[in-house]
Symmetry: D3
Subunit: 129 residues, 6 copies
């Protein structure tokens, strides 16, 4: 049923992406509210609620895909926050980006690391001891 896909997705969106995810949906309201609806129903309702991968694994895959696509810094910012929200450590986020160097080269990895640096600063996270 439409309603339950939406409810389930809305719950997942709030749990995973938190305020950042809700802000994206809200910012779509006066331009393309249906795209916001599809993000909730399809991405967070259908896909994120599937079995077979933990939420930590799903966020690791998501930030890898966004880094590789390139030019998706705003979405990367939302999902680095999402990754932290579901319990991935900052070190593991950095390690995920580092692992991508042989596959996408340094430039896209640098772009992603500087988004992580910004997010970590906003959350008062220090990853060096």
């Amino acid at each position: 049923m439409q309603t339950s896909r939406f409810s389930l997705g809305d719950e997942n969106l709030k749990m995973i992406d938190g305020a950042g995810g809700e802000a994206v949906i809200r910012s779509l309201q006066d331009i393309a509210p249906d795209v916001g609806k599809y993000i909730i129903e399809f991405a967070f309702g259908d896909i994120y609620s599937r079995e077979g991968l933990s939420l930590e694994e799903r966020e690791m895959i998501t930030i890898t895909s966004l880094l590789t696509t390139g030019g998706c810094e705003p979405q990367l910012e939302v999902h680095i926050n999402g990754a932290l929200n579901v319990g991935i450590t900052p070190q593991k986020i950095v390690e995920t980006f580092t692992h991508c160097v042989p596959y996408v080269g340094f430039p896209k990895v640098l772009n992603a690391l500087f988004v992580a640096k910004k997010v970590f600063a906003e959350r008062n996270i220090s990853i060096t001891s």
Copy 2:
């Protein structure tokens, strides 16, 4: 003849992209004026003046291609204006971007929608009733 390709292209550029297109050509003058010349002669002279597609269709194809490429927000801004200038409704621009979700995923579509939102605001266009 060179001259007529340039004249025809210049006319098309002004009609379609208007002030935004002219600003791009002008900003190339002190760095790569020939690239500006090729935009006028080849893109707007040779290509936009061809038969077989209406100007509305050409701008729909252009903004789809720019959205899919990614990282071309400045050009997308010029051509969302161009799309409006040739008579595509704001609703249809948003629908074009929405149609791309299954083919390129949400992140690139969001980037394009937020450029559209900025352009619509600058032109005092409200698309929700």
Copy 3:
């Protein structure tokens, strides 16, 4: 309701992509049947059934996006067939690809044209007079 999104999407898939689209769904059955289900429900149920663009316009946008992404020759083959099925002329498909040259360069346009050439040959379509 799930069922009606699926039914609507299945109808659209058959009408638009025909045998080629059905073959894709079938080939997913023993590897990822749910992805086939999402193609039907989300791409063809939710998106293709929206108002605001004609089917001809939707296929024009689809083949533009696939050309621009690159490396999607199998999907381009399905959707060039889809474009023909919904009434876009072969000339207009070629013109759509030609229009993309200034935005994506010649190589990706050539790749798309050679897929079109193959599809036209299979359908005994000759576009030169």
Copy 4:
């Protein structure tokens, strides 16, 4: 020391990518042997031997990045084998690709699934019950 980076990398390459990885290195011998050396030393020596991610996680990240890049079907074939070699289940590989739909769209996901289908067939793996 060069030697130990190479030895460590060579061991990792054999353990992870197995025959497929060795075939790639061998096929580089008469064209660009140094690139083969860098794959061993840098990718498999420096990167794969780092702490902070399990081998399963590294392969999950790798296949996600290759799917997202597009046009890397040969490398995807090697690393789907690699993923299976380090113990990722076929179901989890398919789920990883499925998770990417909202981020990269259906076409690139289909390309990756059909490579997985080929690899699974070669290894006599059936994933549907």
Copy 5:
């Protein structure tokens, strides 16, 4: 004048890309002859005839761009031949691809190297001593 751009481009195409380039133009005749005309007039007439870069440098830039785009193996094949035709040594072609590893990662570099390997074999070129 159209004619002279075409004549100049045609001469350049034949000199640089040789039989491979002419085959591409010919294969466009029954699908999109105008795209062939633009390749000759714009790419080889306007661009390749410009001052400021040697033909060797132009082919080095071209194969770098094709490698980085990805999915353009047919065009890479034509331009690896073109690079050899204008006097770039096979070793330098391989070195150009090798230099790209830190910028685009190994997978796209491997794809390009295997195209070079095929071209070198067809021309009976051995690059290892």
Copy 6:
């Protein structure tokens, strides 16, 4: 030996990318210092110190690859400076970007030209006479 790869790379980085390159390494210190180490050891130690291409040619290849990837404006800024540092004239940088138009289209070339324009302004370089 690790140390000598690092020393060699560090020297190359300073010579080629100068202050911009050092700033990138420094900005990685509190987020991913190892990625900075790999840039020095692998990119500037292993790759830039290879024979077979001059430094001018290496920077020409680098800026071509960054332009083609897209979304790498910060890295393009560092390497346009690097290109100037190793003696490529501003005119030749612009000509390199111009040559890419037929291969990647106008939008990515415009993005690169506007980065060059910014760098040239910062270095008080005027390229028009």
